[in-house]
């Protein structure tokens, strides 16, 4: 079973076929994805600026981190759901797209970032407020978060620009069918 055939099966699951083939569904889900970027992505950047001590300095870290947390979580879930629907509906296109895989790798790194910095930074914002200067680990978390969360939408946008080698998958399929009569 090749990766192509797996992606082909995914793409033909009812919900993904529906997203791909029903008028307006794909644009509406893509809009949902982008709206989450605006709402949730913007809030991540604001949190990072606070952790760096650059922005929202009148507010405590606890206020900013705590205040935005539930909304960032909701935004993340909706964003990923929309993203899965979009990617699944074009799985055979996406699996050969290097920007897609770069984006997935960056999302894994977001998970690593959370594992590393959640216990030390994000779970104890009050402690960051108590210390006279923001500790280096908070700034490191913010810088890495900024890099990750700027790169992810950039990769997402670039997915649309990758042109696969023309008809790569059908060619592979054709090669199989060519070889069948020889057998």
């Amino acid at each position: 079973m090749s990766l192509y055939s797996i992606c082909d099966s995914i793409e033909n699951i009812g919900i993904f076929t529906y997203v791909r083939e029903t008028p307006w569904v794909y644009p509406i889900i893509l809009s949902g994805h982008l709206i989450c970027i605006a709402v949730f992505g913007g809030m991540i950047l604001m949190t990072d600026l606070r952790l760096l001590g650059v922005g929202l300095k009148d507010k405590t870290v606890a206020e900013v981190v705590g205040g935005l947390r539930p909304f960032k979580r909701i935004g993340f879930v909706v964003m990923v759901t929309c993203g899965l629907l979009l990617a699944g509906s074009e799985a055979t296109q996406y699996y050969q797209n290097p920007y897609f895989w770069t984006k997935m790798t960056l999302l894994v790194l977001v998970g690593v970032h959370a594992l590393v910095f959640k216990p030390t930074v994000y779970d104890h914002p009050e402690e960051l407020d108590k210390s006279p200067v923001l500790p280096a680990r908070a700034k490191a978390a913010a810088v890495l978060s900024l890099i990750l969360w700027v790169s992810i939408p950039v990769c997402g946008r670039l997915i649309a620009y990758y042109e696969p080698e023309k008809d790569k998958a059908p060619q592979t399929a054709a090669r199989h069918s060519d070889s069948t009569p020889v057998k």
């Binding site: 709206i35 949730f40 992505g41 913007g42 809030m43 009148d58």
Partner: protein, 154 residues
């Protein structure tokens, strides 16, 4: 009125159309900075809606976020104009582009009049919630309009 033919033949448009990277680069700036602009506006909206930052006043949040909103909007609109000049004729006659620009102008106007006035002056909870909700809806529809433009839907 700038003649359409001149706009269509502008040198910036040539760069955007004849290099591989310029158009996507402008798009990336457009996306990252609309997140900054709208995310910072949403922080005020969440407060107006009574959903977050209850201990802070809406005015305090505006004072903290206005600079990010402004920088975000300026960069987003500048990048958007660059995208526009790549093919002004196509965009000007695109239905979704017109709808999107109308929504954007309404959203900006609203943000710097009603929205900031209510947030700065303080208001009843109900008025704040309505003003915040309209802001959320306006900005969400601007983003959706942009997606519809980018997909070149008819």
């Amino acid at each position: 009125m700038i003649p359409l033919a001149f706009l269509q033949a502008n040198p910036l448009g040539d760069v955007l159309n004849n290099t591989e990277w310029a158009f996507p680069l402008a798009e990336c700036f457009h996306i990252v900075f609309f997140a900054v602009a709208i995310g910072s506006i949403m922080m005020v909206d969440l407060r107006l809606l009574g959903l977050a930052f209850q201990r802070l006043s809406p005015a305090e949040l505006v004072r903290d976020t206005w600079v990010y909103t402004l920088v975000g909007l300026v960069v987003t609109v500048t990048a958007g104009m660059a995208l526009f000049v790549s093919d002004p004729r196509m965009y000007l006659f695109d239905r979704w582009f017109r709808i999107k620009v109308a929504l954007l102008l309404a959203a900006i106007l609203y943000n710097y009049t009603v929205h900031s006035k209510v947030a700065m002056a303080g208001s009843s909870k109900a008025v704040g919630a309505i003003v915040g909700a309209i802001s959320v809806l306006l900005w969400i529809s601007v983003v959706a309009g942009g997606v519809f433009v980018s997909l070149m839907l008819i």
